[in-house]
């Protein structure tokens, strides 16, 4: 286990975090139903994502024993509608959290992929917020828009799918998912979560132009000054500041 702050913990190699004061597991970008949607368009991607997500949640629950789960957006994949494959996995996921992990409270921050999901709120029993919400000292927001709330000491964001691109000695590129941790210009802390989705390898934050992907990098946040905490095999690896990784090749 690794402490990000006194109140925030990371678990070995998992793309999610635990907030003690809220007794909450926070994760992001699950994109449930992903393969089903792909298959309906002619790419028969084997199903793995949901199984992997359940395994990770199981591990996290064992490590932290939380009673609440917050998903910071993009629990499903489709913009236009709720695909039947998505609904099946979504329903199963909620049931899994309740029955297998004993989670009492499920909170969903709506992301750009989460349209039309409100209609299941009552039937499945979860709370839902559009774009952002403040809980305790934390402002949770998805990230495809700028955060509006001025409250909280720490911002928690998803959406970006951060990762670091590294090259091995013969020049073969590998991507490692990472958390980004730093401060925005008003002094509040910010942590950006890696994607839970198995298929999202991530965006190379040391190579790509992030301002196009998340507006926060346009005005409030310098990625070079953020620390990259990468997901290793059962451990979290501190890679230091992104700015320094940029020069690495």
């Amino acid at each position: 286990m690794m402490r990000l702050t006194g109140d925030v913990e990371l678990a070995e190699g998992l793309p999610l975090l635990y907030i003690k004061s809220l007794d909450t597991i926070v994760c992001s970008d699950l994109h449930l139903g992903y393969e089903g949607v792909m298959a309906s368009r002619g790419s028969f991607v084997p199903k793995l994502n949901f199984r992997k997500i359940k395994e990770m949640m199981m591990k996290a629950s064992k490590a932290f024993g939380a009673k609440t789960v917050i998903v910071v957006g993009d629990i499903k994949n489709e913009f236009a509608d709720v695909h039947v494959e998505e609904f099946n996995e979504f329903r199963e996921f909620i049931g899994f959290l309740r029955k297998e992990l004993g989670i009492g409270r499920i909170i969903l921050i709506k992301g750009n992929h989460d349209n039309f999901i409100d209609r299941f709120r009552q039937a499945l029993g979860f709370e839902i917020f559009a774009q952002e919400t403040l809980l305790g000292d934390y402002l949770f927001f998805h990230g495809e828009e700028l955060p509006k709330g001025k409250g909280g000491k720490t911002l928690v964001m998803g959406h970006l799918h951060p990762a670091i691109a590294v090259y091995n000695k013969v020049g073969v590129k590998e991507k490692i998912k990472c958390f980004l941790y730093g401060q925005i210009d008003d002094g509040r802390n910010i942590v950006i979560l890696p994607a839970m989705n198995y298929f999202a390898e991530g965006v190379d934050v040391n190579q790509e132009h992030l301002e196009k992907m998340a507006p926060i990098f346009d005005s409030m946040l310098d990625v070079d000054e953020m620390k990259a905490l990468c997901l290793g095999e059962d451990e979290i690896l501190d890679f230091g500041k992104v700015g320094k990784l940029r020069k690495l090749r």
Partner: protein, 887 residues
């Protein structure tokens, strides 16, 4: 049994075997049968399987069809000709289909004019992707007696519920241009179609294969006929008429001093040489190895000698179909003086009469050289004339040995992809769509095809599992499964409403060829490259685009990202993916030649005043042995003198000339001292060196704890490291020992895993296996989308099993078809056992034999000027060293 048929029948026996009317027409038209026809008329009439290889002008088509038409005419005369298909003709090229259609109807028209209406007309029809719907409907109602088609259309017809009924009557199958099919997945696909057709017919038919020469012909015949259920190859006679046509060819070097001649002088001499050949002949065909080279030659010929568009034209794959057809038409009418082509005119399209074939740069294979030169001399009695014009010393040696091998009839061999699982997946889906199959019956059918004869039942079952959707839960199989499979019953069959549509819309083996946009800093668009070239790039590779140098960083989807690299030297030439690799047999042959010639020249240098002659810039002409050796080979004077000084310089400078049994490992650096080179003179062809260089680079980077760059070509490879790195001879020995005893397959597999090659080739395999579709429910899916999705599929497949069929096939294709890992492993074993020796040398500047290698990235089609300058500098350095030492 497969055997050569060596004794031709007499003229009377041959003609006597034909139907009266057919014979009458043939005799009036041609009088005498050509050599291949003296075998084929009678043998095909006896319904023997036949493989006929012969050059252009040998009457190949009629050698197959006169006998078949005779059979049909007999039937027609007996009043028994029905509206069903008796013969299927398959060629890889639609253009060829039109030629055949014309060539068959011509005798039929004339014969039936004479016959009047008394005998039923033998009908011929073309069926390709271009055939209009109305025509198809007509064909379904009234099938032709002879169906002219392509491999892809045949596969579709086999699955057409109604039309396939018409195929049950097939007695003959003719496969044309078999040399273009036997060595690739398209041919593998066809071989399965043939077995499915035989299964449909209920018995085997007479199979006739036609083509230019290839080697070994026994393998090509095996590919044609496949295996019987007794596990033995079906019978087939081979008729090899390749050598019955006289050929005259030589290697030419346009200038007397290839190293010191000025750029302009070399250019001028090349085009002068070309023009003198063009002027001597009515029509000349020039092959360049790349498309851009084709354009450049046409441009120069027009500019320098005032040829117009009506005299000189280009013909290559990047041109539109119409302009290619225009050029073909002009050729047929004998209007063009000269046509310049990359590879597109290799196929046997009817292009009229060609008097001379010039090859600019090495064709890289003896067989290909013969195939190309064989395009000239329209009639069989004409002499086929050809020249290879080469302009660097490695190429001169290569081409000289190549044509010498041709003279000695030592051809290099082709290989057929074996057990390709992606192609098989397509056919299993096709088979299951038609009926319910017992697994064992389906497996037996597949094993009748040559490329699948050794297929493992385990692999077959893994494919069945994959296709039946076992990799997803039951509830999703409705979407994922392409076939129905009952393990208890041991049977497969059709499944899913959409599968049929998927099959028809996604059939085929040729991957979509697309270009990839290249972006520089700040996402600025720079230009585009072919995807095939991208798949050859490794991060750090430097290449030329739009006249500037860029370093490749990474790719995403269909975009490549680069940074400017102004000071560096390119490591990979832009045509790398277009250039065919040197064949292994020819490489060994060159290695043996190097050994023998170096032996002779070494002695002669010591015995004569050779060294002084060389140093005083008077030509060292070699002694008697050298002269005799080279005089026996087809080359001109300039080539001879260039080769002699090349070997002499190498011997004086480095003491060693690498050969087939000696790998020279040369530790050296670039002239600026910026980079260290470790040059491996391993002349085994690029496919082997691709594998070898990776193994050495990986081991070197571990051993010396440093970044290692690579340059690869046919003659060897170069490991590039930083100049600060100090390596001793002992270190190099250790490197060799470690690599020689390593688990090569495992290391290559791990290394390939995250490369561009893997990403791209996996998409091809996934598309062929119907895992990622090109077209779904009639909607075209962009290549970019296919690429993104197949990368996801790949990750998931890796998670399921390293032996997931699509994954396994991709690795097989890369390791066996793109690289030649099996032979690379043989070389390593020989290195370990001492059967192949290695020698480590250290040089101040690269030795002459490494010059082409270290400047390889700079090489352009007709040589870029920068590279020539660089080569010349290197040469100057070497000569200074030699004169310091001996002078």
């Amino acid at each position: 049994m497969i055997e050569y048929y060596k004794k031709p029948f007499s003229r009377d026996e041959s003609l006597g075997s034909l139907n009266f009317y057919i014979r009458d027409w043939f005799e009036k038209r041609y009088r005498n049968p050509t050599p291949p026809q003296l075998y084929s008329f009678k043998l095909i009439r006896e319904k023997r399987n036949l493989l006929i290889t012969a050059p252009t002008g040998s009457g190949k088509t009629f050698s197959a069809f006169m006998a078949i038409l005779s059979d049909l005419m007999d039937i027609a005369e007996a009043g028994k000709l029905e509206d069903k298909i008796y013969c299927v003709y398959i060629s890889p090229l639609r253009a060829l289909n039109n030629d055949i259609y014309r060539n068959l109807n011509e005798p039929l028209d004339e014969i039936y004019k004479k016959l009047g209406g008394s005998v039923k007309r033998i009908s011929v029809a073309i069926r390709t992707g271009d055939t209009p719907q109305a025509e198809r409907q007509r064909m379904l109602r009234k099938p032709p007696n002879i169906l002219v088609t392509t491999p892809e259309s045949l596969a579709i017809l086999l699955n057409a519920q109604k039309f396939s009924e018409n195929l049950k009557s097939v007695r003959y199958v003719v496969i044309d241009e078999i040399h273009e099919l036997a060595n690739n997945k398209r041919g593998v696909h066809l071989s399965l179609s043939l077995e499915r057709l035989a299964d449909l017919v209920g018995s085997d038919f007479t199979r006739v294969g036609l083509g230019a020469t290839l080697h070994p012909l026994e393998t090509a015949a095996g590919f044609l006929v496949g295996y019987g259920d007794d596990g033995k190859e079906r019978d087939c006679y081979i008729i090899d008429a390749t050598w019955d046509k006289k050929m005259d060819y030589q290697t030419m070097c346009p200038v007397s001093d290839i190293v010191n001649a000025s750029d302009d002088k070399i250019d001028e001499s090349i085009y002068k040489t070309l023009n003198s050949i063009i002027k001597k002949n009515r029509t000349t065909l020039i092959f360049t190895n790349t498309r851009s080279g084709t354009e450049r030659v046409v441009y120069n010929l027009m500019k320098r000698f005032k040829y117009g568009e009506e005299h000189v034209a280009a013909h290559h794959g990047s041109l539109s179909r119409e302009s290619r057809l225009d050029v073909e038409e002009m050729l047929k009418r004998g209007k063009l003086k000269c046509v310049v082509s990359s590879t597109s005119l290799e196929l046997g399209i009817d292009i009229g009469s060609i008097d001379d074939v010039v090859q600019l740069g090495s064709p890289k294979s003896v067989t290909r050289a013969i195939q190309r030169i064989g395009r000239s001399g329209h009639r069989f009695s004409d002499v086929a004339k050809g020249e290879i014009v080469a302009i660097n010393r490695d190429d001169l040696v290569e081409c000289a040995v190549m044509l010498d091998s041709a003279k000695k009839r030592k051809l290099d061999s082709f290989t057929i992809p074996r057990n390709a699982l992606d192609v098989l997946a397509q056919h299993i889906v096709g088979m299951a769509l038609m009926k319910k199959w017992k697994i064992d019956d389906a497996f037996a059918l597949v094993r009748r095809a040559y490329s699948y004869h050794a297929l493992d039942k385990k692999d077959f079952m893994m494919l069945i599992e994959y296709l039946s959707g076992s990799y997803v839960g039951l509830e999703s199989r409705r979407v994922y499964a392409k076939i129905w499979y009952d393990a208890n019953e041991g049977a497969i069959g059709r499944r899913g409403r959409l599968t049929r549509l998927i099959y028809f819309l996604n059939i085929g083996t040729i991957p979509d060829e697309v270009s990839v946009n290249v972006y520089g800093e700040k996402n600025k668009w720079i230009g585009s490259i072919q995807e095939e070239f991208l798949s050859r790039l490794k991060p750090g590779d430097i290449f030329v685009l739009g006249g500037r140098l860029y370093r490749f960083d990474h790719s995403r989807e269909m975009k490549a990202f680069v940074t400017r690299a102004d000071t560096k030297i390119p490591t990979i030439p832009p045509w790398f993916s277009e250039q065919l690799p040197l064949t292994y047999e020819l490489a060994l042959e060159i290695g043996r030649f190097r050994h023998d010639l170096a032996d002779a020249i070494g002695k002669e240098l010591r015995e004569t005043k050779g060294i002084t002659a060389l140093l005083k810039n008077r030509k060292f002409t070699g002694g008697k042995t050298t002269q005799e050796m080279l005089d026996a080979m087809p080359m001109d004077k300039n080539t001879k003198s260039s080769i002699i000084s090349y070997f002499a310089e190498q011997l004086l400078f480095a003491k060693h000339v690498p050969n087939d049994k000696l790998i020279l490992i040369e530790k050296t650096n670039d002239e600026k001292g910026e980079r260290n080179y470790l040059v491996f003179h391993s002349l085994y062809g690029r496919r082997l060196n691709d594998a070898l260089s990776r193994l050495f680079a990986i081991e070197a980077s571990d051993l010396f704890e440093t970044d290692v760059g690579m340059m690869i070509n046919d003659n060897g490879f170069v490991l590039v490291t930083d100049s600060s790195l100090k390596i001793s001879k002992e270190d190099i020995s250790r490197l060799v020992a470690n690599v020689a005893s390593s688990d090569a397959t495992r290391i290559i597999r791990a290394n390939v895993r995250r490369t561009e090659m893997m990403k791209r080739r996996f998409r091809h395999a996934a598309v062929r296996s119907f895992m990622v579709l090109r077209n779904y429910k009639g909607r075209q899916i962009s290549v970019k989308r296919q690429q993104i999705n197949s990368e996801l599929v790949m990750r998931a497949a890796e998670e399921i099993s390293p032996d997931f069929p699509v994954l396994k096939e991709t690795y097989r294709e890369i390791m066996e078809d793109v690289m030649d890992l099996p032979r690379a492993k043989e070389i390593l074993k020989k290195l370990k056992d001492g059967e192949i020796a290695y020698q480590i040398i250290e040089t101040q500047v690269p030795s002459p034999f490494s010059h082409v290698m270290v400047t390889f990235g700079e090489a352009d089609v007709v040589m870029m000027k920068d590279r020539r300058r660089h080569l010349r500098e290197l040469h100057k350095h070497v000569m200074q060293q030699i004169s310091k030492r001996y002078g």
